[in-house]
């Protein structure tokens, strides 16, 4: 393990760490001095405005719906693009440009997409859905074409050798063979997107984040707190559910496959 190359790498990482720390002029002391400031927020817990719970709940539902639509649309658009970007199914005139396009899409964080779409279509959930869609395309297409490429090339070779068409190959071989991966990616992305959708509201793209940022702007922490708690609880619930679903369906599926 600790050969010359690795030592060099570790040394480099340590130097990069120290350099970054110094250059950014970080002041650890202010972290501890600032801790009491948090109490200002937590003190508000006593005068939390529970009448806002129903509004918070409704806006959380809106957030989940946006995440759901964005994930579904992004996933559906990503799949054909992934086919065009996979080396085992497409020619290099297809996969090389397609990978470049997808790499560009992927470089945009969700919040940047949200800003772009708020400028384009105005404030509100539509901008949110569009940005989650684009973000999902960038994010999931890489996972998708990698799982398509992981399919045993011999199976693809052998089955194409009987002269079936590419579309039939995708329908009967590629999709079923990568289904466990594709499903678990879908679940993971939805889970992930609920968080992103909560955040992109901060720039006005609809959903619960929109409320949170507005209350914070006017220093109404006791109101913002209600919404933040609802986000926290929702994320925890969705996380637990997706772990359950994954364990129950996908893991079982994958292991039963491995046994053979």
């Amino acid at each position: 393990m600790l050969n010359y190359k690795n030592n060099l790498l570790i040394g480099f990482l340590i130097i990069a760490f120290i350099y970054s720390y110094l250059i950014l002029n970080l002041d650890i002391i202010s972290f501890f001095n600032g801790l009491p400031n948090l109490l200002i927020i937590f003190n508000e817990i006593h005068n939390i405005d529970y009448s806002l719970l129903s509004v918070a709940f409704v806006s959380m539902i809106e957030t989940i719906q946006m995440a759901f639509l964005g994930t579904a649309l992004g996933y559906l658009f990503a799949f054909p693009l992934s086919i065009l970007a996979s080396r085992n199914l497409a020619s290099k005139y297809s996969y090389l440009p397609m990978r470049c396009v997808l790499a560009v899409v992927r470089t945009f964080p969700s919040i940047l997409w949200a800003i772009l779409f708020v400028i384009m279509v105005g404030l509100g959930p539509f901008a949110g859905v569009l940005s989650i869609t684009l973000y999902t395309i960038g994010f999931i297409s890489k996972l998708q074409y990698e799982s398509i490429e992981a399919i045993d090339s011999e199976i693809i070779d052998n089955i194409t050798s009987i002269g079936i068409s590419k579309s039939q190959l995708i329908r009967y071989v590629v999709i079923p063979e990568s289904a466990p991966h594709l499903l678990s990616q879908l679940l993971f992305t939805f889970d992930y997107n609920v968080r992103h959708t909560s955040v992109i509201g901060l720039v006005g793209a609809g959903g619960i984040g929109f409320y949170i940022i507005n209350y914070i702007k006017f220093f109404e922490y006791e109101k913002a707190l209600v919404f933040m708690l609802v986000v926290l609880i929702t994320v925890i619930i969705i996380d637990l559910c997706s772990v359950k679903i994954r364990d129950k369906y996908i893991i079982k599926f994958a292991t039963s496959k491995k046994l053979n």
Binding site: N158, I162, I164, S165, S256
Partner: protein, 255 residues
């Protein structure tokens, strides 16, 4: 074997074919062979002697480094659109079987019928009743009719082999390439499967190239047995029942 070779009933012809995977070592050295219609041409040889490689040259999965092959008068190449129509008529049972694990046994067999089905309909999975019956019949022939709804990953090794055979039968090929199809099966099942293929062969004038490990099995069913050693064809014999009708020891002696 004595009837004169009229060139029109030669299905496969190889002329001094060489193949290398890495452009350095040759896995097949100067293979010359021809297979006539309705015959069973069986290849035997040690592990690593190049049997599977030879089979893949016939359906165009591999292209020879040197030499010429014709199959139904065309040069095999999986990328050639014209060869595609011939590929549809070549049943191939690879050593690794090439089954899709996550779909049902019946769906795997239906893959064999896809080349005859309209593309759009097949993608929507609207399959003609007659093709579904074809697939079910093929499964019945290999004795798996009661397992057809099962997912393929949940089958035993021998059952999977039989699914691959059923898929090739459902394809209704005129040339069958079979790579060690009975290796994992017990003696009785092996015989059953081989009898089945041999019956189909006579019924449909099917031509076949098979690979076997069991020399006795090869002699029982083959019209011609060919022996490969280290990529060279060292022997080719014609067989008829229990008598050897033709004997051709190639000059290339094993080194």
């Amino acid at each position: 074997m004595n009837n004169s070779l009229s060139s029109n009933n030669i299905i496969i012809n190889m002329d001094k074919v060489w193949l290398s995977y890495d452009k350095i070592h040759y896995v097949l050295n100067e293979i010359t062979m021809s297979v006539k219609q309705s015959t069973n041409y069986t290849i035997i040889g040690q592990s690593g002697s190049g049997k599977s490689t030879l089979l893949k040259l016939i359906n165009g999965l591999l292209i020879p480094s040197k030499g010429k092959i014709t199959v139904f008068g065309m040069t095999p190449n999986k990328k050639n659109k014209q060869f595609l129509n011939i590929m549809k008529k070549i049943g191939y049972i690879p050593q690794s079987l090439g089954l899709v694990k996550n779909i049902s046994v019946l769906d795997n067999v239906l893959i064999g019928t896809l080349t005859r089905i309209n593309k759009i309909k097949s993608i929507l999975k609207i399959l003609p009743e007659i093709e579904i019956d074809n697939a079910k019949q093929a499964l019945e022939l290999v004795g798996l009719e009661d397992k057809m709804e099962k997912k393929t990953y949940a089958l035993s090794g021998g059952e999977k082999r039989r699914v691959a055979i059923a898929r090739a039968l459902a394809q209704k090929p005129i040339l069958l390439l079979a790579d060690e199809i009975v290796s994992e099966l017990d003696h009785v099942t092996s015989k059953e499967i081989m009898n089945l293929i041999s019956d189909t062969q006579h019924e449909l004038k099917l031509t076949s190239v098979m690979i076997h490990h069991d020399i006795k099995l090869a002699l029982d069913y083959a019209d011609i047995v060919s022996v490969l050693q280290k990529g060279k064809k060292i022997l080719e014999i014609g067989v008829n029942g229990n008598t050897i009708t033709d004997f051709d020891m190639t000059k290339n002696q094993p080194c």
